[in-house]
Symmetry: C2
Amino acid sequence: MQTQGQVRSANLAAVLACLRDGGPRSRARLAADTGLTKATVSSLVAELVERGLVVEGALVRPGSVGRPSTLVELDGRGFCGIGVEVNVDYLAALALDPTGTVRRETRLALDVAALAPAEVLARASALVSEVRAGQGAAAVGLTVAVPGQVQGAVVRTAPNLPRWVGTDVAAGFADQGLPVTVANDADLSALAEVSAGPHAHVADLVYLTGEVGVGGGVVTGGQLLRGSTGVGGEVGHLALTPGDAVCGCGRTGCWETVVGLAALLRAAADPGDPLRDPGRDLEDRLAEVVARARAGDARTLEALAGIGTGLGVGAAVLVALFDPAVVVLGGYFAEVGEFLLDPLRAALAQRVEDADRVVLSTLGFTAAVRGGAHVALQPVFDNPTSVPLLEAPA
Amino acid sequence: MQTQGQVRSANLAAVLACLRDGGPRSRARLAADTGLTKATVSSLVAELVERGLVVEGALVRPGSVGRPSTLVELDGRGFCGIGVEVNVDYLAALALDPTGTVRRETRLALDVAALAPAEVLARASALVSEVRAGQGAAAVGLTVAVPGQVQGAVVRTAPNLPRWVGTDVAAGFADQGLPVTVANDADLSALAEVSAGPHAHVADLVYLTGEVGVGGGVVTGGQLLRGSTGVGGEVGHLALTPGDAVCGCGRTGCWETVVGLAALLRAAADPGDPLRDPGRDLEDRLAEVVARARAGDARTLEALAGIGTGLGVGAAVLVALFDPAVVVLGGYFAEVGEFLLDPLRAALAQRVEDADRVVLSTLGFTAAVRGGAHVALQPVFDNPTSVPLLEAPA
DNA sequence: AGACAATAGTGCAGAGACCGAACGAATGGG
DNA sequence: CCCATTCGTTCGGTCTCTGCACTATTGTCT
């Protein structure tokens, strides 16, 4: 903090955060909640209105006597953040406005692994253009979620998209003319979980996503855990069990060889079973697993229970180390969650306290794009003065 | 940030931090380093001098032409922070001044487990008085390190000091008239490692301390990992290996049953061996282990190699999850480190990249008290205006 | 020896931001 | 119809930083 201009900016941000986290309220309540005086809040609100970030809302009758208050609320019309996801078998994009409302959302099935990265990026950018089009809200930023480790804007490792290693993902969206951030999909999903929904504002959360591999995102103390080289929270290749299955990373015993989607399919069906047909869409096969389990097929249920137990063993380590308030299961874990939770909690309860903190994600496959859009909007909330004034001050 | 008074405070803190982290320097360089103007820095330095936090030092001749600069440096004479440690078989206390210099240090062997907590606290408080006495520096705070999990000022769990559970440790130091903080010893040691010495300012670090059990302290993104209930970084009871050894916590397979001091002694000597004599001081026995290892005793070396391998297996999990720049081994691990590092790094290298990031602590058994004293001093650096003016402004 | 350039540090007027108190606005109750 | 209550604004005051001018001190060049 150096200049009083930054004080102004910080206080504008405090008012915005208050409105975002606690909903619309009067200037008087904003003053009480932020500790600022009513005079200052009036001035701050006026500036935020000029920047198109908040609007005056309804008049609210007080409970008893007194002048009615004018609600102040976030203005969702002016801006939005864009999240876009490149995953193994689909692309997705989403526009989120400052109020937390999803403005546009789209998804495109695509065999990403079979195409050149440049080709995929062109289609993803087209998807972004589609999401941006036809709405008054100006996009303020773009975040790209990729299933791998990212350094800067470049993919460093991507077990399920090996051709993407070394790709500068941000460059593929240069035509959008927006600030572009590239990040790991599980990390962004974790941020999505703590930014909205039932776990909003939880400061310590672990997100696990089941894909072909297993991804993890960890939030501690309200911050995303990154680690010294940006590889923190890498749960897929934890060496938990001295198992013999060889992982894509070349080692044995990695957690994802135990609880990844491949492990489930192997355990649930013999070679020759349609579930093991590598040419079939993974989503289709997963739907069939769910159908068999619901029909009570013993082999399937046993396989799912095995995954649940394996998850519990690993989750015990994560719970002991991170002490999260909640462990959220996303990706395919959420889809088959009803069959996982009991064995998972049983295994977890043997090892740590409070096994009930494991829950299923309600965001589905939109978690990553939602988190990405949230990240893209963040600069507006952090520094409201970066948003231009709408009309010249009189 | 609400008032411009807090701007002043933040800028005073910025100047102090600059001097602490980068050493003495002129006002002009402070201005360049903090981004403030020279005029502002002059004003800030004047106030810090009035509060007894910095002093003017030597005149430095410039390399070529120009007026010589007056160095400004931290004043270590006025204040100190106190760290005190209650451990299984000793008490220790240390006074640290703002320059990072240890002013007084003392240690007292004591069979803490055999005494009532109140009795031990009385002796610890006497130790603090001893450290405070006879120096002009006024203590600004006191931090107590205990080998267990702490909530507020109360011990929640302490495997090796079971009688202490529920003890209000801060109350035992009320007679000192200082703000008292109580914290886990491994957490404080981790803070000590990142606050001074070869790993100063490392933002991501894992500290492991070998005692009867195993303690862990984790710093991520420059912050101590606490978790939702303050139990984060609890490494001792990680269920890593499906071993059969029963842990003090009642479960099996906990890491500390594999790499704790008890495991080492069990592996290094048969029952009846003097090393296994429970009546003997642990330090003595540890010294004998080192002596035997240095003499080349095969059984001892094998036992130590086993510990090293076990450490490597667990460290692989920690490295994968936290991605620390460095893993520091403290406690007994550091004392026998020369025999652990090779097998440890071998086991680690099989599982993660960069096994060389594991190193031995150079702080020895003073890590916890040092970290505690650092924590006690922190409020002065965070908010210099909390320190009273020495002389009334003219 | 003297002028000059370079660097360090201070003095001062001004602008920006918040605060506190007083004031006008809007409403329900007696 | 008056008053208490609550909301929001206006205005003067204070604090802090900034930018520029100015002094201080030294080495170098002529």
